[in-house]
């Protein structure tokens, strides 16, 4: 078996955090890949919800967009997008929100709006989409992001979706429960400190050094006392992931 790439390790590690049977609101891209990998391995009963209105969807290939036909065809039911946000997310039925972002900060706030000032941005990003409410209303949020100094920053340029705000009890005092429980990158897993809510490295992927993590993180990163190494992907996980990616590529090639 070919050794796992760092992106594969990130995806497998994220997938493992999704417990079987939970209701998961899935963002497109790597979150969708990880959620479906979980469904195809240890979590066959996970209920995947996409904001396009598909509930309990079981795609055999990964959707390129959030509203691919594959998602509707394999769903238990398809509802309108307004209903997804009111009756399914806002009602508190979503246990895990699975999100990506352009920037994540030390307190797990997410930015998908702008780099630079809002009124005259250096880079205009796509925007909020469903993320602010997913981050606010899911019982727990998992965040996947590539480990890069420009992406993991001291303070996001713009808080699109609230994490722990400026740390401590600020999130709960603002009236929000839940919050990010882990940030998974291609180098490490961060978890929020139980008191300060600062993201702390709790797991480090095989072959990654602390030095490397420090150099790639935009704040003075801390490592947990009980820091351990991430369990490497099993052969079974890698086969499932690679099959999924291969099927997806083939399906897209056929369509083009």
């Amino acid at each position: 078996m070919k050794e796992a790439t760092s992106q594969e390790i990130m995806t497998v590690t994220a997938a493992r955090l999704l417990r079987d049977g939970v209701v998961c609101f899935v963002g497109i891209g790597i979150p969708s890949m990880a959620a479906n990998l979980a469904r195809l391995t240890h979590a066959p009963n996970v209920v995947l919800i996409y904001e396009s209105g598909t509930i309990g969807t079981k795609p055999s290939v990964l959707p390129l967009s959030i509203g691919d036909g594959e998602l509707a065809e394999t769903a238990d039911t398809v509802v309108s997008t307004p209903e997804i946000f009111t009756h399914w997310l806002q009602s508190g039925r979503v246990e895990v929100g699975f999100l990506g972002a352009a920037q994540v900060d030390k307190f797990a706030n997410l930015n998908s709006t702008v780099i630079g000032p809002y009124e005259s941005p250096k880079v205009r990003l796509p925007g909020a989409g469903g993320a602010p409410e997913i981050a606010a209303l899911a019982k727990e949020t998992l965040i996947i992001i590539e480990h890069d100094k420009r992406k993991l920053v001291e303070r996001v340029d713009f808080v699109t979706s609230a994490g722990y705000l400026r740390g401590g009890n600020e999130r709960s005092e603002a009236g929000l429960s839940g919050g990010p429980s882990a940030v998974i990158t291609d180098l490490v897993v961060f978890e929020p400190d139980s008191v300060s809510k600062e993201l702390v490295v709790t797991k480090i992927h095989a072959g990654v050094t602390k030095e490397q993590v420090r150099d790639s993180t935009g704040w003075d990163v801390r490592f947990a006392n009980n820091l351990c190494q991430t369990d490497s992907p099993t052969d079974q996980e890698l086969v499932a992931l690679r099959d999924l990616v291969r099927r997806t590529k083939e399906a897209r090639r056929k369509l083009s």
Partner: protein, 281 residues
């Protein structure tokens, strides 16, 4: 009472005027590409464009100067990346500046539903801790009259014209869409006037679970435009042309290439049929 059934050119001419608020909706599925391109072809400008997920077709409209305001929640090329024309308009005011009324999907949904329901606002749990309300006066907060909890509210959206694409209309002008139905029912019922392009006119609808049916008297104009949602898809008719989305990334990166492509494919074609021929050749 019964909608006019006509061709796309005259439909756009009679419904869409410069300066109007226009929502061209479709959530990845059933995006009315043909109708939107006809707006570009007719050179209509000064529009406020409204959509949860402005994508390639709004990128084309913005790059061609149709819009000076955008009400939206996520503007990207789904599965590919940025919209370069949207970015160029926001970052560099090219070809013109673009005012943004930026919300979240949930807030846009609530605004459409309020609009369709004749309410001036809708409530949601949201925006606590987010920076968006600082930059958008259409997002505010109120205290629940019963529990005193702080809730977000957003103003209703009721566009002058809504344009959607559906699989079918029957001969009476009732419209049916199915698969991912998105926000189309809400925006159609929220708008002052409604244009629907359809894949085909049929004698009778088949049973389709999760179908959205819009009665004929809620619609102003119907145009039969087969393939009118392409390169997005129409469930049970054709699939998404993912390569067109990928290629758009390349086409739209430079202003020159973009303008050339638009001239050749849209401005110099008379209709969506001709456009499709040119694309496929």
């Amino acid at each position: 009472m019964t909608p006019k059934i006509t061709n796309l050119q005259s439909a756009i001419k009679s419904l869409v005027e410069p300066g109007m608020q226009v929502a061209i909706e479709g959530f990845t599925h059933l995006i009315p590409f043909a109708a939107a391109q006809e707006i570009i072809r007719q050179g209509i400008t000064g529009l406020t464009l409204i959509r949860l997920t402005p994508d390639v077709i709004y990128d084309q409209m913005i790059g061609m100067g149709c819009a000076n305001k955008l009400i939206f929640s996520w503007g990207g090329n789904p599965g590919v990346g940025s919209l370069h024309r949207l970015r160029d308009a926001v970052e560099n005011s090219w070809p013109t500046s673009l005012e943004l009324d930026e919300r979240s999907h949930a807030a846009m949904c609530v605004a459409y539903t309020a609009g369709a329901s004749g309410l001036p606002f809708g409530s949601l749990r949201g925006f606590v801790g987010s920076d968006l309300p600082q930059y958008n006066d259409s997002i505010r907060f109120l205290d629940c009259p019963f529990t005193k909890e702080k809730l977000a509210v957003t103003s209703a959206i009721q566009p002058d014209v809504a344009i959607i694409h559906a699989q079918q209309a029957d001969r009476q002008g009732n419209v049916m869409l199915w698969g991912i139905v998105g926000v189309q029912k809400d925006i159609a019922l929220a708008a002052k006037r409604v244009l629907v392009t359809v894949e085909e006119l049929v004698d009778k609808f088949a049973e389709k679970s999760n179908a959205t049916v819009l009665p004929s008297w809620t619609i102003d104009t119907i145009c039969e435009v087969p393939g009118g949602a392409s390169p997005s898809y129409a469930h049970d008719y054709y699939q998404r042309d993912n390569s067109a989305y990928t290629e758009w990334d390349e086409i739209s990166r430079s202003r020159e290439k973009f303008l050339e492509w638009m001239k050749h494919h849209v401005l110099e074609t008379k209709s969506f049929v001709e456009f499709r021929e040119r694309i496929q050749s």
